[in-house]
């Protein structure tokens, strides 16, 4: 397995753009990434596209707009982890020596089709009977409050922090800050989750150019490398399991740290799946940033804010940067690359050398998550 570098990244500002076509979202992100890499277009040998709701061949639809045609193109869907899955696909082919250079694209146009909760499969045993993602996380929140005394205020702080962070992110969907009272006072979605504790729907795209480490120096000084790439699915959870933990997340985190040869204490920055505020708290624990049950305290004591011990979601996270489903995984990668290169401007985490991205996707009955993908990047 060869080492793989990320030599270029691009991302369009996320938002609601009902008048923009799917191709108009994806093409600029691809251009940015290729121009950032400073590599010839004809060097790209493979492209993976992560997308959830578009349908047939979303990758080819976008790539023909920039004249990137004729190469191997794979379209992947893994719910919220689609973009990370795309990145992993390109990583795996380069690591295995099949190709030297590839592009990962994540793109979603959803504002024209989805308002409110994302409709899930009507035949699935759980989602077909009314389980929606905010409800699942609300129920996990209730268990966390029951078992560990986590408070509504601690959960709201995740939203406050991530909205504060996004003020400095020109590509974020929102730039407004909220007080804790405003977060708690927003409309109840599924108790205890309120509106500002749930990520928005939106449109957007992000892209990354990867290449074999051994040729990366031609394009980038001190290139960012991928130290770990993990993608796993959830185990059937018919037997009672602890809803405050994630078997899937735990297994993915363990494998990622083993692959990278480091531990949570070595991370300088992380982008994690804060589709709901409680999610970020649960992921702190899954990723070993704090012991089980202490996630509420971790945020309350300010450790995960920019400037704290382990800044989480300096981009504003899904809550404020936005969550166009297929784009998110690649956008997380772009943020960590900018952080490791020292290009994050006012939201820069000082001295960041090691970063982690984490995505958890999928509402299917009987499993704690459909797909969890973790990447660890190093510079």
């Amino acid at each position: 397995m060869r080492e793989v570098a990320i030599i270029g990244v691009g991302m369009i500002p996320f938002g609601k753009f009902p008048d923009r076509s799917f191709e108009e979202l994806g093409a600029p992100a691809v251009r940015q990434a290729v121009e950032d890499a400073g590599i010839g277009w004809d060097r790209i040998e493979v492209a993976y596209c992560g997308n959830v709701i578009r349908g047939h061949c979303p990758g080819q639809r976008v790539l023909k707009e920039v004249g990137l045609t004729g190469i191997e193109v794979v379209n992947v869907e893994n719910a919220c982890s689609s973009g990370s899955t795309a990145l992993r696909g390109v990583w795996s082919l380069i690591a295995a020596g099949v190709y030297d250079v590839g592009l990962a694209l994540g793109v979603e146009q959803m504002s024209t089709q989805i308002t409110g909760a994302i409709p899930l499969d009507q035949d699935d045993l759980e989602t077909g009977q009314g389980l929606i993602m905010p409800a699942l996380y609300a129920m996990r929140a209730r268990r966390h409050m029951e078992m560990y005394g986590t408070t509504r205020e601690q959960m709201a702080l995740v939203s406050v922090k991530n909205h504060d962070h996004s003020v400095h992110n020109p590509r974020a969907q929102y730039h407004k800050t909220f007080t804790m009272e405003q977060v708690l006072g927003s409309a109840v979605i599924c108790d205890p989750l309120t509106l500002y504790q749930c990520c928005p729907t939106g449109d957007g795209a992000a892209a990354a150019v990867l290449c074999a480490r051994e040729i990366a120096d031609r394009f980038r000084d001190k290139p960012v490398t991928i130290a770990a790439s993990v993608l796993l699915s959830g185990a059937t959870n018919v037997e009672p399991r602890d809803l405050t933990a994630s078997d899937l997340g735990d297994r993915a985190a363990k494998r990622a740290y083993e692959m990278a040869g480091l531990g949570p204490e070595d991370l300088d920055v992380a982008e994690v799946h804060d589709a709901f505020t409680i999610g970020e708290i649960l992921h702190y624990e899954t990723l070993g940033l704090c012991p089980p049950g202490e996630g509420g305290r971790l945020i309350e004591e300010g450790h995960t804010r920019i400037g704290g011990r382990i800044p989480v979601n300096p981009s504003g996270g899904l809550l404020s940067k936005g969550h166009p489903l297929g784009a998110t995984g690649v956008a997380q990668i772009a943020e960590i690359v900018w952080q490791l290169r020292g290009q994050a401007g006012p939201r820069q985490v000082e001295g960041a050398r090691v970063g982690l991205t984490h995505c958890m996707g999928g509402g299917i009955g009987g499993v704690d998550g459909a797909a969890c993908s973790i990447h660890i990047l190093r510079r």
Partner: protein, 137 residues
Amino acid sequence: MDTERFEPFKPGLFELTDGPDRAPRLIGVRCQSCGRYAFPARDICIFCHSGQVERTPLSSVGVLHTFTVCGLPVPRMLPPYAMGYVDLPEGVRVFAQLEDWREAELEVGMQVELCVGPIKTGEGDAKIVSYKFRPKR
């Protein structure tokens, strides 16, 4: 139940017993190889992959492990609706909507019992019916 049109959510998930009250019971499976119970019934044990499974009714009283109330409109659902995960004595956890609930009385750990009721709208004016749990009074 005969003034509106009702349709079952999916076949094979529960049955009504013969007694005068026609009490419902969930149809689970017990694996004859490893002994574990599962719901819904499948032809293979999802734990040990043995094909030696037998269908068996599950207990109708359980513990409410967690719950939430959904207030926002969700296509085909009937808000506000409450839902939760119920732990049954056989070591099985079941997701279901709740019936006959009052938000102030819902509590983690409360005893709930199986019942049947509408969960969403179907074709035309039909209501889709499934198993639900209600507070055991």
